[in-house]
C-alpha cells in the first residue's frame, strides 16, 4: 500500500493558487511532503507529495471546486516512497547554447553513459525570439571524475554548446 500520492496541478499563473490548493488539502486532513512549485512559461506548476491516508477520490473531490475556479488541471497518482530519502549531488553540469532541438537529449545521453544520476534539472530559454538561447543546470551524482565527464562531453562543444562541469561541495557544519 503506497503511503503517498503525487499530486500534479498545472494552470495559468495567478496569485492565490498555492494557498487555495494547500488549504483544501489541509481541510481534507492531508499532510504535505516534498514539493516543487514553479512558474514555467506563464503556467504555474505544482508537484506535491500528499500523505496517502485519504482515498484518491476524496482528495480529488476536495480539490475539484478549487481546480474548477482557478482553471487547474489535476492529476493524482499513488506513489511509494516517503520522506528522508534525499540523495546529495556531487556534481553540477551547466549547459548553454543557441537553442535547437535535441540539446537536452544530447547532453543527458552522454551523462547517462557515464552513470550520472540526475537529481535536479532546471532549464530556461533566454535570449530573444530571433536568437533564443537554451540554458540548463543539472545537479546529480556520478562516481566518475570531472575530467572524465568533461572528456565525454567535449564533442558537444564542437557543436556550439557550452558545457561546464563543477563539483558540488556540501559543507556540513
Amino acid at each position: 500500500m503506497p503511503d503517498w500520492n503525487m499530486l500534479t496541478l498545472v494552470g495559468a499563473d495567478r496569485p492565490g493558487i498555492v494557498s487555495r490548493v494547500t488549504r483544501a488539502l489541509y481541510t481534507c486532513g492531508c499532510n504535505l511532503g516534498e514539493a516543487s512549485m514553479i512558474r514555467l512559461g506563464g503556467n504555474f506548476t505544482i508537484m506535491l507529495m500528499v500523505s496517502g491516508e485519504r482515498p484518491c477520490e476524496e482528495l480529488l473531490a476536495a480539490l475539484h471546486p478549487v481546480a474548477e475556479e482557478l482553471g487547474l488541471r489535476v492529476h493524482l497518482d499513488p506513489v511509494p516512497g516517503g520522506l528522508h530519502r534525499h540523495l546529495v549531488p556531487n556534481l553540477q553540469v551547466r549547459v548553454f547554447g543557441a537553442d535547437r532541438a535535441g540539446i537536452v537529449a544530447d547532453v543527458t545521453e552522454i551523462l547517462a553513459e557515464q552513470g550520472f544520476n540526475i537529481l535536479e534539472l532546471e532549464s530556461d530559454v533566454a535570449g530573444d525570439a530571433q536568437h533564443p538561447v537554451y540554458i540548463m543546470n543539472i545537479q546529480g551524482y556520478c562516481e566518475h571524475t570531472i575530467e572524465a565527464l568533461e572528456t565525454a562531453l567535449s564533442a558537444l562543444s564542437n557543436r556550439g554548446v557550452s558545457v561546464d562541469v563543477a563539483p558540488v561541495d556540501v559543507l556540513i557544519g
Binding site: E122, V170, L171, G173
Partner: protein
Amino acid sequence: MAILDILKLPDPRLKQVSEPVERFDDDLRGFVADLEETRLAGPAAVGIAAPQVGRFQRIVIVDVSGRPKTPNHGHLILVNPEIVHWEGYAIGREGCLSVPDYTGNVIRATGIRLKAQDLDGRESEYVMEGYEARAVQHEMDHLDGLLFVDRVVSRRTDLYRRKVYQT
C-alpha cells in the same frame, strides 16, 4: 571528555545570540575538548559552534584540512571571532549538524579577514578564502542565532543577488 547533545531544529535555543567569552580558563578548555569530540563523533562536519550544544558563548571550531587542495589554516579554535572584511560572493551547498537531512544553497563571501582569540585569549588575524571562509561564516552565524536555512537561496532567482557587505 564527552560527546555533547546537539540541538536540532526547531529548538528555539538555536536562535539565541551568544555572549563573548571573558574567562580563558580550564573550564573553557574542557568545554572546547568536548565540543571537538562532539564534532568528530557525528557526520563529517568541518566545523561546530558552541551554541549547537547549548553553550551560548562565542566559540567555534573549524577544520577543513582534511579536504585535498583546499587552502586552510589547519585546525582552528576561534574564540570571540569577528569578520572585519568581506569580499566576493559565491553560492555553495551547505548542511548542518543541527538541521539533519537537508542541504541548501547559500550565498557567502569568497574571501574574509578574521580576528579571533585562541584558548589563552591571544588574538590572531587570518585571511581566508573559499571553502574555509565559507565554513567560518557558517559557524559564526550560529553565534548570532542564524542557521543556513535562514540564508537559503534559489539558484533560479538568487544567483546574481549581490549581498552588500560592510567593509
